[in-house]
Symmetry: C2
Subunit: 224 residues, 2 copies
């Protein structure tokens, strides 16, 4: 059965691949599962039909027969559980890969989201100039620790896993900030992720959506 995911009709990042459908597309590409995409507008995302699928009014969602899921990490995990290629067979290695999935979204991403909020939602506030370095420092605290753990390894725990997929996706959000560039091993790690053919296909697919749509007003971008 071919699953259907949802994605922005007009991605607020203009096709840079930072919208969360890219993470799900990447997972589907890694395991060789074809999929369909239903595009939703910012307005439709907040209407009852979409809220029934995604209580927080966001993308992506995932529908497969009578199963409907939301929340990127959970969708990636669902794909990883049902197909080979994203989780190790060994039980302990599998548990550690899942650990990195949660570490990506609950330990590394929160300060990155806070930095995004500082720029997108508070960029015009009088305190922004003085406050931004504090928020950046919280991001660096996490990256210092992540960089120390990764060391010279290619991936976080042996072979590439859903944990790396999530961590690379989270770190990609930092690219435009310049902070990632301060960490050569993390930059190389992210580049390894981006170089994977499955990532390229996922990236190209989301970019094609953006290019096919007239770039009108990107209303609501700051809320997504």
């Amino acid at each position: 059965m071919i699953p259907t995911i949802t994605a922005f009709e007009q991605s607020p990042d203009r096709g840079m691949g930072l919208a969360r459908d890219t993470r799900v597309r990447w997972a589907l590409e890694e395991v060789g599962q074809s999929y369909e995409v239903r595009l939703v507008s910012f307005r439709a995302m907040k209407e009852p039909a979409h809220l029934a699928l995604h209580p927080f009014g966001q993308i992506p969602t995932y529908e497969e027969g009578d199963l409907a899921l939301f929340e990127t990490g959970a969708i990636v995990f669902h794909i990883a559980e049902r197909h080979a290629g994203l989780l190790p067979d060994d039980a302990n290695a599998r548990a550690r890969a899942i650990t990195w999935m949660f570490a990506a979204v609950n330990t590394v991403e929160p300060p990155i989201l806070e930095l995004g909020n500082a720029k997108l939602l508070e960029g015009d506030r009088p305190w922004n100039r003085e406050r931004l370095p504090l928020v950046e420092e919280r991001v660096r605290n996490r990256l210092n620790q992540l960089s120390a753990r990764l060391g010279n390894a290619d991936w976080l725990d042996g072979t590439f896993s859903a944990g790396d997929l999530m961590m690379v996706s989270v770190l990609l959000r930092l690219k435009s900030s310049g902070i990632l560039g301060e960490y050569p091993n993390l930059s190389a790690y992210v580049a390894r992720g981006e170089a994977r053919p499955a990532y390229r296909r996922a990236f190209d697919a989301q970019l094609a959506v953006f290019k096919s749509k007239p770039p009108g007003r990107l209303e609501g971008a700051a809320n997504n």
Copy 2:
């Protein structure tokens, strides 16, 4: 095999149950798995021995034979996968319960963490008074959506699951802010979680640790 978790030697919340070992204790109590606890000081958490277990220098960790895990969500999931009681048997219901686990840590918790940072790390900054309402509004945006989805149900998706365990734990962080009280159904939901015998045992166990230690200087509290 009896697992060993780590917890604060002196919890920065003075035994209010908000340190993340409570989530893991709660999961272990729900499934009836006994466990041992190794207490770590703030200083020891940042030293190589602990960093080898937890690259971000936090608690809790989980050791069971030759398996070592960190990251609360992953530990709770590991426990839920290996014991009955925290995940439904039906495959689709199980996937939805896992969805709520990720929603708790990646959609609902980030604005709550940001609110915590605003109070703990920026409470003395000149912008705090004006900025705090903005951050609280981000929390309310999420709670509005969560409250609408929960409605009059007891739990988020049928019977109590690891998704509820994580969501209740995340919402408990809001108790002192007064924001949770604006949502009667979410307040009742959290109270249902707190009333579970397994939660009570977990709470009492972490409180007993705090009470057994002389309440000296709570150094480093703001960083945890």
